[in-house]
């Protein structure tokens, strides 16, 4: 399967921001999981995923979100999805993941997401 996603991670004030450029689906899943895994191993408990350039997500992408939620829930951390499109947000609503817990949060932009994180800490 062709991988049509590019992942770039940058650190902003010590918080990793994973930029998902393209589609978040089965093909890109291994890379996404490995990136999350690395960041957790480096000691991060709070992540921001920049979804502003993510134009598609399917059950593979959901899988990735579930993965990062489960890993961070154990560490009492959380993941903020920033800048989700309507479509993707709806998919997440349908899945019921938005109701689960505080582990999964949403923000309209990366800046807002980081601001919320700063407020919380």
């Amino acid at each position: 399967m062709e991988v049509v996603v590019t992942l770039n991670t940058r650190l902003v004030d010590g918080t990793p921001v994973i930029d998902v450029d393209g589609e978040l689906d089965h093909a890109g899943l291994p890379e996404f999981r490995s990136e999350v895994s690395n960041l957790i191993e480096q000691g991060h408990r709070n992540l921001v995923v920049d979804m502003s350039d993510t134009h598609f997500m399917d059950s593979g992408g959901l899988s990735g979100i579930v993965y990062v939620m489960k890993r961070l829930a154990v560490l009492k951390g959380g993941v903020t999805l920033a800048g989700c499109s309507e479509r993707i947000f709806r998919k997440l609503e349908v899945s019921g993941l938005t109701q689960v817990s505080d582990t999964l949060r949403f923000a309209p932009s990366v800046e807002q997401a980081l601001r919320e994180l700063r407020k919380a800490s």
Binding site: H26, F56, D58, S59, V66, K70, E93, V94, G96, V100
Partner: protein
């Protein structure tokens, strides 16, 4: 002053070799040698370990004619300090061992011998193989690596094969005379084979002393075998034992020449050979500086002819070159045989790795054993780790026999093959205690056998076995390339098996996914569509008739497109059917399914699902959703479409999650649509979300038969979707 740089010992990994690549390189190398591009060939030979085995540096050392030091003929990437020292390196535990034992050796971690001199140069592992140079001290081909490494059997054999090719190259190069006035005997011409070379050498010897006939005998163990002759009677035996008491035997044993004129009685040997036509004869030993390699015999049939010390002296002087010639012929033949085997292996390698069909691969392997190893009986057997049994995959016998003979013949060798990891050879089955009771050996008249284990990532996956009716039936060179074949075969079979398993699961899954018979619900028109995107589908749907006349309707989306997902679907479907019978409440069923999915799948596996129970008489629907797209209900009276969902969580996330259910009343003309997200994703456009489009299409098509609508929706989705397709599953139910 010690100018050596002490390179740091690095931790890291060597990239392991690819056997297919290596065989390709060897094939190219043999073409270079065959076309006499010897310099290029030598260069390529030392390059191959670097390219194919992740070796850091290679060195080719040959013995020096005049001194005790070795010569560094060529090298690749050798650190400069090692390059200076290597010619005098002693007690290195590697080159010394190899030269003494004339066998290849690999050291996976040089630090296990703390005093290894190689550690000084930052090296951690090495492989070394002897390079034959015609009976004297062999040369050595040394491959070193900065990383500690476990060398596979076939990799060590590869280096040994390269060393043999190198010896052929070097001999060929050195036999081109530069300053020699006389042409060396045995210098090969392009179309020569070993027999031609030796015959030429014999002719020169006979001409030198004006002999009428003679022979060259090569010493092989305790035998002397005639490898070239002229003017001998047909009944002269081709080989003699050293204890036979013949003249040649005496010369070979004592290492001294003999000259006989007239018929003499001499109690140094028996005149068992009655050769009245021979009037005078000389036999001289042929040796390279250390070993006796054969005997040269010349004779004259002219009456009253006598040989004198003059002829003895001539033969004595050329004996050395004659010896070289026959050694050369032997090496030449050996490397030609090797090249032939390598070429066959290359062809098989390409064929095997270009197919995933298990049947084709097993056929090619047994064919190779038949054709290139001349096996009378051969077999390929697979080892099933789960049950610890060996099963026949394919067997062939030119002598017939039942299928169970292959297992019978291979079993005695299995434990040895597993242990040694090299091919296990039996030169005479009748002498091997392991084969004492094996009936097939006697019935088929088999005398020699070779069994090699196939392994993938260190685990045994099977065996290849070949048997012949001839004792010592397998050429050494053929056995030497067998590890290469075993490696290839193991990988090809593993790939084919994995592919087969995937295909089998997909097939099984699809069969088990389709409702066993298209369900009919009284009073309803049903349309269904299931179109998996790949071989292994990720969605499933089911309509179950419940004992009380109601129907359970389920549609689900399993995350993942691999065999794990397929297995989950199977589990889901069967659990659903089992549970639906007992649990009538959709919420309770979903709750139970959630626990099952949590327990029986990986933590990050999940399934989205809607489950509804329809009472066809009352047309009442109870439903519960778990992370799934909302059901749509087209209301005939208002020509509008409602969304129905209970907004539950995906199955498989939280084991103790509770779910609710809701009810809906269905009127005549209403259509219930259950589907998976593949459909709505495909229907979505930039302007309109997929669900909205689906609603409008339902309104548009509502009057058509349900199956027709299902097909139309699927066509629409396939036509429109611009990304790689997702599975599409859809159930439509219209109340009539």
């Amino acid at each position: 002053m010690d100018k050596r740089q002490h390179t740091k010992v690095t931790e890291g990994k060597r990239t392991p070799g690819s056997v297919l690549e290596a065989i390709g390189h060897l094939h190219r190398l043999s073409s270079l040698i065959a076309s006499d591009q010897l310099d290029e060939a030598l260069s390529a030979a030392v390059e191959i370990p670097v390219q194919c085995l992740g070796i850091c540096a290679t060195a080719l050392l040959m013995p020096s004619r005049n001194s005790d030091r070795r010569r560094l003929v060529t090298s690749r990437n050798l650190p400069s300090d090692l390059r200076t020292d290597i010619v005098t390196l002693r007690d290195d535990g590697l080159i010394g061992w190899v030269l003494k034992n004339n066998a290849p050796r690999a050291i996976d971690d040089l630090t296990t011998d703390g005093s290894s001199p190689y550690l000084r140069y930052g090296l951690r592992s090495a492989v070394c193989a002897p390079v034959e140079c015609g009976g004297e001290t062999p040369g050595a081909m040394l491959c070193v690596s900065r990383y500690p490494t476990a060398f596979a059997v076939w990799e060590v054999e590869l280096v040994a094969l390269l060393a043999n090719q190198v010896s052929a190259i070097v001999r060929r190069q050195e036999s081109t005379p530069a300053s020699d006035a006389l042409p060396s005997p045995g210098a090969p011409e392009k179309s020569d084979d070993a027999d031609d070379i030796v015959s030429r050498v014999l002719e020169e010897a006979l001409a030198a002393v004006k002999a009428d006939g003679g022979s060259i005998m090569a010493k092989r163990g305790n035998h002397l075998r005639i490898i070239a002759s002229r003017g001998l009677r047909d009944d002269v035996p081709q080989s003699a034992n050293l204890s036979d008491g013949t003249i040649a035997a005496w010369v070979a044993t004592n290492g001294k020449p003999l000259m006989l004129n007239g018929r003499v009685q001499d109690d140094r040997f028996s005149s068992a050979e009655e050769r009245p036509e021979i009037v005078s004869a000389i036999s001289v030993p042929l040796r390279n500086s250390r070993n006796l390699v054969g005997v040269l015999n010349v004779h004259s049939t002219r009456p009253w002819h006598t040989y004198t010390n003059r002829e003895l002296g001539i033969l004595g002087r050329i004996a050395g070159r004659v010896a070289l010639g026959i050694e050369y012929a032997r090496l030449f033949e050996q490397s030609r045989l090797q090249m032939r085997h390598l070429r066959s292996l290359y062809r098989v390698a390409r064929a095997i790795t270009s197919t995933l069909d298990l049947g084709d691969i097993t056929e090619m392997i047994t064919q190779y054993l038949r054709e290139h190893m001349s096996a009378d009986v051969c077999a390929l057997l697979m080892y099933d780790r789960a049950y610890d049994v060996v099963r026949l995959a394919r067997g062939h016998s030119s002598l017939g026999g039942p299928d169970d003979q292959y297992l019978q013949l291979t079993r005695p060798a299995v434990s040895a093959a597993r242990r040694s990891k090299r091919p296990v050879e039996y030169h005479d089955l009748l002498q091997s205690p392991e084969y004492a009771g094996v009936e097939a050996v006697r019935r088929l008249g088999l005398r020699s056998g070779v069994v090699a284990a196939l392994s993938v990532r260190g685990n045994i996956t099977g065996f290849v076995a070949a048997f012949r009716r001839k004792p010592h039936g397998f050429e050494r060179q053929a056995v030497k390339v067998l590890p290469g074949l075993a490696e290839l075969a193991a990988i090809a079979l593993e790939n084919a098996r994995l592919y087969q398993r995937q295909a089998d699961i997909a097939h099984m899954t699809r069969k088990s996914l389709m409702p066993l018979s298209p369900q009919e619900i009284p009073g309803f028109d049903i349309g269904c569509k299931y179109a998996p995107a790949y071989q292994v589908g990720g969605d499933f749907y089911d309509i179950v008739r419940l004992p009380d006349g109601k129907f359970g309707i389920a549609i689900a989306d399993v995350a993942g497109k691999d065999t794990k997902a397929a297995a989950h679907i199977g589990m889901c479907r069967h659990s659903l059917r089992a549970v639906a019978d007992e649990i009538r409440s959709p919420a309770a069923l979903i709750q139970k399914m959630n626990r099952l999915v949590c327990e029986q799948t990986e933590p990050d596996s999940f399934i989205s699902m809607i489950y509804a129970v329809l009472d066809p008489t009352s047309r009442r629907l109870a439903y519960c959703s778990a992370g799934h797209e909302p059901a749509l209900v087209y209301r005939h009276r208002s020509r509008r479409v409602d969304e129905r969902s209970t907004h539950g969580l995906l199955l498989g996330i939280l084991p103790r999650e509770t779910y609710r259910e809701r009810r809906a009343s269905i009127q005549v003309g209403d259509i219930i649509a259950l589907y998976t997200d593949g459909l709505v994703d495909a229907l979505a456009t930039r302007e309109m979300p997929g669900v909205e489009r689906l609603k409008s299409l339902l309104i548009e098509y509502h009057a058509l038969p349900m199956q027709q609508i299902a097909d139309l929706l699927h066509d629409q989705a396939s036509a429109q979707s611009d990304r790689s397709p997702d599975d599409i599953a859809l159930i439509l139910l219209k109340a009539l």
